[in-house]
């Protein structure tokens, strides 16, 4: 056995159970360095192993149980902590209530027709917001849709149609009315244009009325329903853009015969519903 193996054996042996092997004993008796090493290690291990054993204090169990009890209180079920009036106990219920209030107010705002129409008139296209400034005038604020004409000229257009019967397209003439110019590009959202609508009152003396509210109009998609008994004559549409420019265009009325039926003396007809009592422009 060489010194290295002998030292390893001295180092690793269990003092209580193991003694050195015969080969190691023989080497130690002949090698002074290994003998000194063995004696030093033995003395050191006895010195370290001879340290007194430290005991736990007498109240160890008591303190242990106190800590366990406080641990249980900390990890008590949620129901038990509900009545704990610490700030943290109210955090989640408070957050929940706050979220509920915010979502309810958002829902309520979405249900408000005026707010929604105003919002969409500013942001979406097409959209209409109707106001009745005078008995003779109705103003519809319409953001124009783009109509691609055959000569590849892009111009703002407004589609005015009955919700159920037919559609009439109103296209302002740009060549005749240069101002206001609405900068329009195909596929891009444009500035909004106000459409003021009026009829010549000389014929029938009545004023066309727009029955639907702004929100309803918006949901119908730029439709302007006109009552069937509306006066005959030209529909004048005033277009206003956001830069302040305005122009008026005239649209001839179109009748599909229902007006004549109503005028016929002694004619019997049945009005099915309010929605059927609508003319077309």
């Amino acid at each position: 056995m060489n010194c290295r193996n002998c030292k390893i054996e001295i180092e690793e042996r269990d003092l209580r159970r193991e003694s050195l092997s015969e080969a190691a004993e023989a080497h130690v008796s002949s090698c002074a360095a290994c003998r000194v090493f063995g004696e030093e290690r033995l003395a050191l291990r006895r010195l370290v192993g001879g340290l007194e054993k430290i005991s736990a204090p007498a109240d160890f169990d008591f303190r242990m149980r106190a800590r366990l009890a406080s641990e249980r209180d900390t990890h008590a079920p949620r129901g038990a902590r509900w009545f704990n009036f610490s700030p943290s106990a109210f955090t989640w219920p408070l957050v929940g209530c706050l979220a509920l209030v915010i979502s309810a107010s958002l829902y309520y705002q979405q249900q408000q027709p005026g707010a929604h129409a105003t919002l969409t008139a500013q942001t979406e296209s097409p959209s209409i917001a109707m106001t009745n400034d005078s008995p003779q005038t109705s103003v519809a604020e319409v953001s124009p849709s783009v109509v691609q004409t055959t000569d590849s000229e892009t111009r703002p257009g407004i589609e005015v149609a009955s919700s159920k019967i037919s559609t009439t397209s109103v296209v302002p003439e740009r060549r005749r009315n240069a101002s206001p110019r609405v900068a329009v590009r195909a596929g891009v959202e444009r500035a909004s244009v106000q459409v003021e609508e009026s009829t010549s009152t000389g014929l029938m003396g009545a004023t066309p009325r727009f029955a639907a509210s702004g929100a309803t109009r918006r949901s119908e998609g730029a439709l302007i329903p006109v009552q069937l008994d509306a006066p005959e004559g030209q529909l004048k549409v005033l277009l206003r853009d956001t830069s302040g420019g305005a122009r008026t265009i005239s649209v001839d009325s179109v009748s599909f015969g229902s007006r004549d039926v109503m005028k016929r003396p002694g004619a019997t007809y049945t009005k099915a519903s309010m929605s059927s009592n609508q003319g077309v422009w």
């Binding site: 269990d14 050191l44 430290i54 160890f60 169990d61 242990m64």
Partner: protein, 217 residues
């Protein structure tokens, strides 16, 4: 109504029943006790605490060289055992498991102390050991000895100080081997390192100690 004669009767009502059971039958293994503690048997957990409280306190004290923090960490060790009872897997001996928890807590405490930068007067004379780690100077006391009892006390104090000045990575293996008398295999499992590393570190630790305690050898 019977009178309560001691605090143990008040706080440990179930321990008596366990003691009676274990007196009749053979003592339950650590695994069985922990299994019972997992199902809510507080008496079983109290028995586990009783078995290991002194060993763990002694072990942590030798690592930290501070009795109060040793007691505190020993209690924390048992608390962690109790908390993690559901996750305990009886792969190794329970003693290995609890010593590992105690070691980790003690090492965390030592590192926190180091972060707090407790200034030691002897720290001004810190030197580097062979592995390049800083080791605190702990010069041998060469004063003449006065009394036999004082000699023993002084020797114990010197040994405790010398152990406390060992680098962390050498301290735990040495304490586990030479004080707690654990096998190399178990030390390897506790410290999660190979047996060869354990042997090497213990050998290095003894060499450090021999240099520091040469006057007591």
């Amino acid at each position: 109504m019977s009178a309560i004669s001691s605090i143990d009767e008040l706080i440990l009502p179930a321990r008596a029943s366990v003691a009676r059971q274990t007196a009749v039958a053979e003592p339950l293994s650590d695994h069985s006790l922990l299994e019972a503690a997992r199902t809510g048997d507080e008496a079983a957990f109290a028995e586990l605490v009783r078995r290991y409280r002194n060993q763990i306190t002694n072990y942590v004290y030798r690592l930290t060289n501070d009795y109060e923090s040793a007691v505190d960490l020993a209690q924390e060790t048992f608390l962690r055992v109790f908390r993690a009872a559901d996750r305990y897997q009886a792969t190794y001996a329970f003693s290995t498991y609890i010593y590992r928890i105690a070691t980790n807590l003690a090492i965390s405490e030592l590192r926190q102390r180091k972060r707090r930068r407790l200034v030691s007067l002897t720290g001004f004379f810190q030197s580097q050991d062979q592995s390049g780690e800083p080791s605190e100077l702990d010069p041998a006391d060469r004063r003449p000895l006065q009394d036999v009892t004082m000699v023993d006390d002084e020797r114990r104090a010197a040994v405790a100080r010398a152990i406390a000045t060992l680098p962390e990575k050498y301290r735990a293996p040495l304490v586990l081997r030479d004080i707690e008398e654990r096998s190399y295999e178990e030390i390897g499992r506790i410290l999660e390192m190979s047996e060869g590393t354990v042997k090497s570190r213990i050998s290095r630790a003894r060499t450090f100690l021999r240099d520091k305690l040469q006057n007591y050898l």
